[in-house]
C-alpha cells in the first residue's frame, strides 16, 4: 500500500461518515452520563479524552468508545486528507471548501481553548479591592510567610501535587511537608476520632474532625478537600496539622522567629492590577424572586499603567481587560452588597467567531444553490 492510497483511505467519505456517527453516539452517551457524573466529570471522561473506558471492576478498564479528542483528531486528519487528494478539483464547491475550512478552525480552536482556558471567580463586597480571582473547583495548600508587614510571600501547593507526592519540599521556606492523608472531598463530622484520620497536634484541627466524602456530581456544589500534613524542619517533625477547605481562617505556625500561615484555600490567580467594587445593584421583578437585572460598578486600578477608571459590568456585557474577561455571574443570597464575577482567561476566544463566519458564508453559498434548484426545477406534477 503506497502513501497515496493511505492518504486516500484516511480522506474517504466513508471514514467521515463513521466519525460523524461515532461523534453523535459519543455526544448522546456523554450527555446522558451527565445525569450521574455531573457536567464536569462527564466532560473530562467523554469529551476531553482519547478513549472512553468502562470499569469492569478489579481496576480493569476497557476502552468502549473513542473519546472526544480521538474523534476530533481523526476528523481533522480526515478533512485534510480529503482535500489533499482532491486538490486538483478546483472548479465549483468553493462553498464546501469554506465550510470545511471553518470547521477545521473551529475544531482546532476548541482544542486550544480546552488546553489553555482558565476559569475562576472573583467575589467582591462593596468597597472591597482584590488583585486575585479564585478557582471555583481547585484548592491549593498555601504556605504564607507573614514576616514582612508590607508583602506576604506565598508558596502554593496545588491539589494535584498533594495527591501525587508523599513528601513535599516547600521552596523558599525551611519546611518539608509529609502528606499523611489527602481527601479530595470531605465533610465535617461531630464527635471524637474514628481512627481514620491521623492525629493532629497543632492548629484548629484539634477541635474539628473530618471524614472523606464521595466527589460531588452537581454543578452547583464543589469538592472541599482536607489534608493532614506533618511539618518537618531539617528532617525533624514539629507537629501535625489538619488543613481543610472548611476552615474560614488559616492556621499559624512559627519557626526561627518567623510567622507563617498554613491554609487550604481555593486556588488563587494573582493579577498585576486591582478591581474595586463601587456598587452592586440587583433588581427583581415586582412581587417575585425572579432576577431582572444585576450589574456591578467596578474601578480598575493598575499601578503599572497608572489606570484608575470605572467600568460597569452587567449581564451580557462583560469587561475584557488584561487578557481576561470578567462576567457578571451571580450574587450572594444573604448579602445584597456582594457581587460574584466570573473571570475567564482564554487566548483562543476569537477563533469561534472567525470560524463561524467562514462556515456560515460557505453554507449559504452551498445550500442557496440547492434550495434555488428545489424551488425552480420545472414542475413535475401536473
Amino acid at each position: 500500500m503506497d502513501a497515496k492510497s493511505i492518504v486516500r483511505a484516511l480522506g474517504s467519505l466513508r471514514l467521515t461518515l463513521v466519525l460523524l456517527i461515532l461523534a453523535a453516539v459519543l455526544v448522546f452517551v456523554g450527555t446522558m452520563a451527565q445525569v450521574k457524573l455531573g457536567i464536569h466529570a462527564a466532560q473530562v471522561r467523554y469529551f476531553q479524552s482519547l478513549f472512553v473506558y468502562a470499569e469492569l471492576g478489579g481496576g480493569l478498564r476497557v476502552p468502549v468508545l473513542p473519546g472526544g479528542y480521538l474523534i476530533g483528531g481523526l476528523m481533522v486528519i480526515n478533512l485534510i486528507c480529503a482535500y489533499a487528494t482532491r486538490i486538483h478539483r478546483p472548479r465549483g464547491r468553493w462553498g464546501l471548501l469554506l465550510v470545511h475550512a471553518g470547521l477545521l478552525m473551529l475544531l482546532l480552536g476548541q482544542f486550544v481553548t480546552d488546553l489553555l482556558q482558565v476559569e475562576s471567580t472573583m467575589r467582591l463586597k462593596e468597597g472591597q479591592r482584590l488583585n486575585y480571582s479564585q478557582s471555583s473547583r481547585k484548592f491549593e495548600l498555601a504556605l504564607i510567610d507573614l514576616s514582612d508587614p508590607d508583602k506576604d510571600r506565598v508558596v502554593a501547593i496545588p491539589e494535584s501535587v498533594l495527591q501525587r507526592q508523599q513528601v513535599i519540599r516547600v521552596p523558599e521556606t525551611p519546611f518539608t511537608l509529609r502528606v499523611l492523608a489527602y481527601w479530595p472531598n470531605s465533610r465535617p463530622v461531630q464527635g471524637g476520632s474514628d481512627g481514620r484520620a491521623p492525629e493532629v497536634t497543632q492548629g484548629q484541627g484539634r477541635q474539628f474532625r473530618f471524614q472523606p466524602a464521595p466527589r460531588t456530581t452537581r454543578t452547583d456544589r464543589r469538592d472541599i478537600p482536607t489534608a493532614y500534613v506533618e511539618v518537618l524542619v531539617e528532617g525533624e517533625p514539629i507537629g501535625t496539622w489538619c488543613a481543610s477547605g472548611w476552615y474560614e481562617a488559616p492556621d499559624r505556625l512559627s519557626h526561627g522567629g518567623r510567622e507563617y500561615a498554613l491554609w487550604m484555600r481555593p486556588a488563587r490567580y494573582y493579577k498585576p492590577y486591582y478591581l474595586k467594587l463601587i456598587d452592586f445593584s440587583h433588581d427583581r421583578y415586582l412581587g417575585t424572586n425572579i432576577p431582572k437585572n444585576f450589574s456591578s460598578l467596578v474601578r480598575i486600578q493598575n499601578p503599572q499603567t497608572g489606570e484608575d477608571r470605572e467600568v460597569l459590568i452587567y449581564m451580557n456585557h462583560p469587561l475584557r481587560y488584561g487578557g481576561e474577561t470578567y462576567y457578571q455571574s451571580g450574587y450572594d443570597e444573604n448579602d445584597p452588597t456582594v457581587t460574584i464575577l466570573q473571570v475567564v482567561r482564554n487566548p483562543g476566544w476569537l477563533t469561534p467567531y472567525v470560524a463561524c463566519l467562514i462556515v456560515g458564508i460557505g453554507m449559504c453559498m452551498q445550500f442557496a444553490g440547492h434550495l434555488r434548484r428545489l424551488f425552480s426545477r420545472k414542475q413535475e406534477v401536473a
Partner: protein, 657 residues
Amino acid sequence: MKKLFPWLLTGALALWVLAGMMPPKDPGAFHSLDFARLPVVANGRLQPIDSVARNSLLIMRTRRSVSFEETGADGQKHRRRLAAIDWLMELMMKPKVADTRPVFRIDHPQLKDLLGLPGDEKAHYFSWKELEPKLAALDREARRAMDIDAKKRSRFENAAVHLHQALILYQRLKNTLVPEEVHDFAADLEALQEAAGPGLKAFAASHGSRDFDQQALQKLALILRRYESSARMAYPLMIPPADPQKDPEGWKTVGDAVLEPVRAAITRLSAGDTNAVPERLEWQPQLLLFARMASAYRNGDAGAFNAALDEYRQWLDANMPAAVAKGRHEHLYNHWELFYRATVIYVLAFLFGCLTWFADKSFRTFNLAALLLLALGLAAHSGGMFFRMALENRPPVTNLYSSAVFVGWGSVVLGLLLELKFRNSVGVVMAAAVGFVTQIIAFNLSESGDTMEMMRAVLDSNFWLATHVVTITIGYSAMFVAGALAILYVVRGVFTRSLDPRTRRNTESMVYGIICFATLFSFVGTILGGIWADQSWGRFWGWDPKENGALLIVLWCAVILHARWAGLVKGPGLMALAIGGNIVTSFSWFGVNMLGIGLHSYGFMDSAFRWLVMFVASQLVLIALALLPTRYWASYRTGETDPPLRTPRPAPSPAKG
C-alpha cells in the same frame, strides 16, 4: 359548484375566525368584561385580571372555563358554563358560592380514594367543598411527596403535589381581594375606621407604659390580623400605585393598602410621636372603590358594582393609560383564541389533503381546498403569534411554550411553500399535521400557567433571543418538516399505491433540500448560542445538555448529507435517516430538559416524558417500515420495478478525484 367549493368552505371558516374576534358582550347585569380587563400585577408582570383567571383555571382544571350541571328554577338539570372571569369574581367576592364549583381536576383513583371521593370513573372535577373534609390527609401526603426528588415521585405522589399546589393557589386567590372571614368588605373597613382611633390611642398609651384601654387595642389587633394574613396570601397585586407618575412600580396587595395608614401611625407612635393618632384613617381611593365593588357584588347590587367599577376605570384611564392598554390588549388576545381556531382549521386542511390522494377526479378541488385552508390556518396562527410578540415586546420564542408555537409556524410556512411549488398535497398534509401536533403540544405546555412569564436576567436579551433562539427553532422546524415528509413517503409507499415514481422523486428532493436548510439553521443557531454563552459566561462551549442536543442535530444532518453524497442512501434509506432526525430533534427540544441538569434545564416534566418515549417508539417503528425491502411496499408492487432514481450529483469522493 365544484369550482366554488374550496372558496366557500374557506370563506365560511374565515367568518368563524372573524366572529370570534367580535367584541364580546357582557352576559349579565354585572359588567364582568370591564372587570376582566382591569390591569393587575401577577408573576412579576402587568396583566389583565382575566389572564390570572384563565391561567389559574388551567392549572387547577386544565380548562379555561368552568362547566357544571345545575338544577334550574324549573327543577330540571342543565349544564352551565362559567367564563374564567366570572368564576374568579365569585371566588374573590362570593367565596361561599365559588366553593361549590367543580374546579379541581382529579384523575388518579388512589388520590380520589384518599380524599373520600366517589370512585365513579367519569367524575373528574370536584369543588373545594367536596375536598375540604379530607384536606389534612392530602396535606400530609403532599408534604411527604414534596421531600422526594421530582424525578423519583410516583404518579400518585405527583398528583398529590399538583393538587396541593392547586389548592394553595385557590386559597391565595380567595384571599386576594377580601379576607376570607369578612362578609362585607366596605362594612369591615368602616369597623376598622371606628376601632382605629381608640385602638391607636391605647397603643400610644401602652407604649408610654401608662394605663391603657386593653379592649380597644385588642379589637383593633383582631381586625388588623385579618388584613395581615390577606396581605401575605394575596396572589395578584390588585391596588395600583397611589401616584403612578412618581412610583409606577408601586403596586400592592389589598391587605397592604388597608394596613398602610395604620402602619404609618404605629411607626410614628413607636418613634415617640404621641400626637400621631390620626383623626381618620386615609385610605387610597382606589382601595375604597374595590371595597365598594366587593360589597355590591356580594349583595347582588349590580348597579352599585358597575358604578364603582366605572369610577375606577375612569381613574385608570386618566392616570395609567399604558396599564389600561396592556390590560385591554391582552384581554383581547385571550378572547380571540386564535391558536385554537388555527388548530381546528389545520385538522380540516389535513383531511382534505389526504382525500386528494384517493379521489383522483376531484384532486384539483380538494387540493385547492386544503391549500386555502392551510393558508387560513397560517393566517390565524400568525395573527396569534405576532399579537403575542407585540404584547410581550419580545421575539417569537421566549420559552418552551412559544417554541412549540413557532416550530409549528415555521413548518407550516415551509409546507405552504413546498405545496405552492409542487401541488401534490404532500406539503399541505405535512404542514397541517405538524401545525396541529405542535399546537397540541403548546396547549399542554400552557397548563403550567402563565406563558408570558418574565425573562430571567441572563436570558433578558432581545438581540440573542431574536437571533440564536429563532434560528435554532427554525432548525427544529425544518428537521420536523423533513421527518414528516419522510413519514408520509413511507406510510403512503408501504400501505397505499399512491406513491407514484414522480411523487417519490419530488419527495426525495424535498427532503434533501429541507435537510440542507435545517443544517444551515441548526449550525448557525448552535454557533450563535456559543457566542451568546461566550458573551455572558465566558465560555463558547460548555457541554451543557442543551448545547449537546443542538450539536446532535448538526451532526445528524452532517451524517445524512455525507451519506447521500457518498451514494450510500437513496429513497427509503434517506427517509429512514430523516425520520431518525425526528428522534434527534425531539431529544434536543424536550429530552435534554428532562435530564434536570445544566443551565437550560426547566425542571422535570413527568407526563411529557411518557409522550416523548411513545414518540420515539413510534418513530423507530416507522424507520423499521422504511427499511423494509421494496418488494413489500404496496406502491412498488404495481408492476413496475425500482424506478430510475434521480442520481445525486456526483459526490466529491476521493475515489473519483
